[in-house]
Each structure stands twice: as C-alpha cells, then as structure tokens.
Amino acid sequence: MDDQRIVALYWDRDEAAIAESDKKYGKYCRYIADAILHSDPDTEECVNDTWLGAWQSMPPHRPQRLGVYLGKITRNLAIGRYARDHAQKRSAPTALVLDEVEEFLPAADESLPLSEELALKEAINRFVGALPRQSRVIFVRRYFYLSPIKEIAESLGLSESNVKVILLRTRSKFRAHLEKEGIVI
C-alpha cells in the first residue's frame, strides 16, 4: 500500500493504518530502535509507541515520506528511552556513537545560549547536502541510524578502515562547518 493511502487511513481514523504501517515500515522502525536500544523488548515497545505517536500526529500531519516520518518518531522515542533508562548503564555501541558526536561540538563557552533549532537544522542540512553521496550516506547511516561501522562497510562494499576514515574526515568538516555557521550547542 502506498504511503498516501496509509496516511489517508490515519486521517480516516482507520486502525488498519497501524497494521499497514507495521507491515510496510515495521522492519525499518525496528532497525532504528534496535540500533539505539540494543534490546528486543525495548525495541518492540518503542515501535509500538511509534504507532501510537503516528496515530496521534496524523492528522494534522500529512507527511510526504511516511517511512522517514515514522522512522524519526521511532528515533526520537528510542533516544529518549535510551537517555532515560540507561543513564547508569550505557549501551556500548550507542555510547560509541555519542563519543563520536562529541567531535561535532564546536569549541564554545558553555555560557553561550543554545542555537535555535531552525538554524541548526539548516546548518546540518546544508552540510550534509554538500557532501558527496557516498560520504553523505555513510554519515547519515552512522549518526542518524547509528548503524555499526562494519554493517555500513558491508552494505557499501567498502572496508571498515575506509568507512572510519570517511567518518573521521566528515566529522572534522562538520565541526568546522558548525563553527563557521556560528552554531553552538
């Protein structure tokens, strides 16, 4: 079932929308949740919360790309659950990604105000949009999907060391980009 028809089900308050969403994007949302939570029960729960979040957000939203919309809901829920439920006990893979993300942080005084979300969004998209496709896919896979480096390498036919080098260079460029944009977090 195409995305428009599924969204129409949500708008029609037809519970078949959940089933269809799960059927089409369940695997996708589970992948995102599991990459952050690394726990089957937590992943299932997060995906179920995703359908609830979708049911509650449509209407009024009518997303063009339903899969990404649902995936972002799942991602945010997963990150929130991770931060809440794993404050003491960190998932190693996710912690690893967080450590990498630290490299994005521009050198800034903590006393400065937080960036506006819009400015940050634009800065991120300008940077990612300017990347070569392969570097962009690797960057998004790593820092959006939190995919393991090995998996990224296998899916793209590259070596792990190659992927690491690309990520290292991209992080460095991203930091410089944020500093240049005057983005502080």
């Binding site: 990404v68 919309y69 991602r75 967080l98 969004k121 991120i124 990612v128 999907y145 899916s155 977090i185």
Partner: protein, 654 residues
Amino acid sequence: MKDKKDEKKQRLLEAMSLLDDRYVEEADPTRARPKKKLWRRLSILAACLCLIVTSASLWLFLPYNHQPPDVSEYADSEYYPLIQKLNAVTYIRPTYKNNFERYFGRWGYTLYPKDDAYLNFGASSPAGGEPGAALPEGATDGADSLTGSTSEMESQYQETTDNQVEGVIEADLIKRSDRHIYYLRGNTLSVYPIAGAETRALSSLTVSLPDEMRYAYRASEMYLSTDCRTVTVIASYTARAGQTKVALISLDVSDPAAMVQKQTVTLTGSYQSSRLTDGTLLLISGFSVGQNPDFSDESQFLPQIDRGEGAESIPMKDIVSPETLSTTYYTVVSSFDEDTLALSGCTALLSYSNTVYVSHDAVYVTRAAGLRHKEGDLTVSESVTEIARLAYDGDGLRYRGSVTVAGYVKDQYSLDEYEGYLRVVTTTDEQKYRESVSFGYGAAEIWMDGGSGSNASLYVIDLETLTVRTAVEAFAPAGETVQSVRFDGTAAYVCTSIQLSDPVFFFDLSDLDHITVKDTGTIEGFSTSLVNFGDGYLLGIGRGDGWDTVKLEIYEETETGVASVCDETISRSYYSQDYKSYLIDRENRLVGLGVSSYDGSYRSRYLLFFFDGLTLHRMVDCTLRGDISTMRAVYIDGYLYLFSNEDFAVQKLS
C-alpha cells in the same frame, strides 16, 4: 560539566533527526543495496574474464600471415615479373600457423607442405689465399734490379697455370713473363726478376680498393696480359655497408719497378671464377638476394656494376630466370675488354649455382636441384643438374638455352666441350624412402626405407639441339661418387670412390655410338685431381690408404684396362685440393705440390717429383712457410722458384 557535555552530545544526536527526509530515505539501511553491489562485482568480474579469454584466444589462434607482401606498386617497373618471383621466394613464411601451434605443438603434430623440388646447392669455394701479407724476409722493395733493365717492353708471356682448356686462361696467384715472375699475396703484387739463386723481390704494390672497403675476406687472383704490360687483379671484399663486392683493378706493369694502378671496376656480389681469352676477360660472380628485400632499392635484389660513374643495375633483358625459383642466387657472367675494362656484355642467371666451365666460345653454368616422385608407397628422390649455355664473342654474351642431366657435377673438370658436343660426368644419387608420421614428441618423423645409392654417369650432349646424344649410366660400383674427372680430346678419365678406395675409368669417346670403358679395378686411395701428364700417362693426386696420407699415382692405358705405373705416398700429411697449387710441368715431367705434415707439430713444405717413365723421384722437399693452398712453384732453367703467402725460396735442381 560532564553531564552537560553528555547532554550536549545527546542534543546533537537528537538534532540529527532534523535531517531532511530525502537524505534519511537515501541512507535507508533496510534497502537491498548489497545485492546490487554484488551483482555489479560479478558483472565486472565476468566482463574481465571474457576480455581475458577473448584476448588469449586471439593471441593463440589468430593465424600468422602466410602471404608475401603486396608488390603491385612496382607494376610499372621493367623488373616487375622478377620482383614478383623474388617476392614469393624471399618472403620468410612463419613455420607455424598460429601461436597455439608454436607453443603447444607437442600436443599435436604438423606436417609441413612439401615442395616438388627442393634446394640442393653445394657452393664450391672460389680459389684464393690469405689476405694481404707483408713481404717475406729477405725481400726488398724498391728498384733493386739485378738484371739490368726492368722494363717489360720486350718480354714474352709464359703460361704458369695448368689451364683446363688450352687458350682459355685462368686467373691465378702467379703469372710470369720470360723475365719476371709476378706473385699476388692478398692484395699485394710482388715482382721478382728471374735470376736464379740471386732472385729477390724487385718491387711490390698493394692495390687500392675503394674507400668503402671494410675488409677483404677472400684472396685475390690476377691475369698478366699477353704483352706483359698489364696485370688485372680480381679482388673480393666487403664494403663498409656490409655488401660484398668484386673489384677488377688494372695495373700498369710495363715498368715492373714502378707499377701503377690504373682503373677499377666494381660489381656487387662475390667472386666465383674468371677466364681470359683473346683479350676478353670473363668474370663470373655470384649475387644473393637476402630475405624480405626492399624492392624500392634495386641494389638489394639486382646485381650492379660500377665503372666509376655510379652503380648500374643489370637490365631485365639480360636476366635469365626459370618459371619457378628454387633460390635467389644470381650467377653473373660479365665480359670486359682486358685493356680498358670496358663492359662488353653481362648476363645474370637467376637460380644458378657457381660451378662454371668455360670453353673457347661458351660459358656453361650449372644448377643443381632435387626432384621427387612416387613409386608405390615409396618416395624417390634424385638430383638433377641443369646446364645453361652462354655464347660469348666480341659482341658480348648471349643465352643459348639449357639442358638437364641426372646427378650433380663435382667441379669444372666434370664438363668439357669437344667438336660440337658437351661431355658431362655426374654423380647420380637416387634415394628411395617411405614417409611416416608418429606422435613421438609431436613432430613428424620420417624414416628411411627402400635403400639409397649413388653412382657415376657420363652424358654426351649435342650442342645444336641441347639434347642428350648418348650416355653411359651407372658405370661405377654401387655407392661410388665421382672424385675427379679429366677430359683429353676423345678420352675421358674418371675417378670414383667409396671411402678410401677407387677405380679409375678410362673412356674412349672417339665413337659415340660405341663408347668403351676400361678401369683399374679397385685400388687403394682415390684421386681428387686427374691430370693428363703427357705421353699417354695420367697423373692422379689425392689420398692414399689413410685420410692423412697424400698419394701421387701415375696411370697408363693398357689393352685391357688402366694400370698403375707407380705411386708415391706422403704419410701424416695433408694437401691442398686447389688444382692451381700444383706444378704440372709436362715438358720436364715434373709435378709439385705443397703439403702440411705432422711430426710432433705441423710443418708446411713443398715437394717436387720427377717422373722418369717408371718411377716418381722426389727432387725437392723443402720447408716453405704459409698456407699450402697459396703455394706456387715455377721451374725455370734448373731453378725452382717457390712462393707462398708467407715465404719465398729458390731451389737449384741438379
């Protein structure tokens, strides 16, 4: 601080959710990308394999070019028919069909196509000695005359060479007048006044060859004109460009003390032989066309003559060639005026060998070839000789046709023209064998069966019709080959041999319809030269009962056969088979030759024998340094004058 940093990291990670949907969708990890990558790799690998296999196949099985190059661009040339023939013969075709056959032939076999005629040439070495050498010790260079006037104004020519045909002079290292002896050491001519024991070299002159000479690889020969005023030297040399050439150099020797070089004519090719008759110098040279010649350069496929005004190619009308070439070797017969070296005629015979016989009015050039035919399951192979006749006179040379006989000739003495007939003695060599192919090591194997045999035959050819008038075939014991021949009017002497024994045959050719033959029976040794020694005696020079034994033997005809009168052997010695190195003095019944003897070390010496009608007596046995093939001797008024490329001596005879 640490919590704030963690919070920031988390906020940034959350901020990644702000990524544009298209970038998120682009990187969807659940899409089936790996298969696409794998197929791509497999496709690339398959394409590479196909390329490798195709390249390998092309390299292995692409056929070699077996066609000669296209020569149609020379269609306007007068030599085009000749170029086409040469192109087909000089093009070296690949041995294999392709690389697979070349490198993996052991796993298969290949039978190469057989031609109906195959090459069977035996090039005899032209006479000659060593390259130019210094004068021997004791010789002087200068006007140190002991006999008064050195001029040849009043001299008379004296023949020193035992010419095959009387009146047809052959070039040699030694010539003389009644006053002087001329000897050629390489390219240096020395003159000796005849003065008995006091003889010393009067003067010498090293002929100057063209500047392009790189080195003279064969010795020279010469003629002395009948007025004793001109010496014509014939020299072979290699030009700097690597091309072999023949030079005719005329020297003014009217004043032997002050010899002067006059003029030079050069021809491309190698010197084979020459004759001088009635003021006409006939030069026989050979010119070989190399592989894959450049037909835009005439010097690569045509003999050329340079008379000092640039090289000129022989015109097409003067080239005689068979329909099918079996070789790319020219035999060039040129005629020059002895005094002026002006060219009066030239004929080039393509595919002819260098065995030449010259009579009073014709030049005969032979070509040996092999023929094969089938007899049941046997293949019969035999040699044949084609003899071409060129008439010469004051108007030049004219090709008169050819005739073919079975077998091959030994040398120029195997032919003789007499009263309208050409007599020829050949060795016939019919072989029968059966061909088979076995895989063995992958190559074709041919094994012989059916036997083979050689023999000797004599043919009499009518020169009017160039057909065989009569023949005596296979007159020798089976397996024998011709070692020497000598014609003398209506008589012919032939020595054949197998290993180290020979019979000598005497033919009476006075009645061609009833040719009779007698022989000596089998005797030890064999003669490589047979010489008419006068008074009915025949002299044989050759080997004795061992390969290192020299034997001289005198024969005479008897009622029932040919008998040996006497012989003389020289053991542990070798002799020269150059007939010009023998002293044959019929008037004084002297025979001399140089030998190389081994007695702990090799020593060259000269031997002179006197035949008193019953026995050969050794008159002289003296050391003479040098190459035995360059040794020459002249007997004058009780003195024997001895020359070699390294030495000179005078022996007084009692």
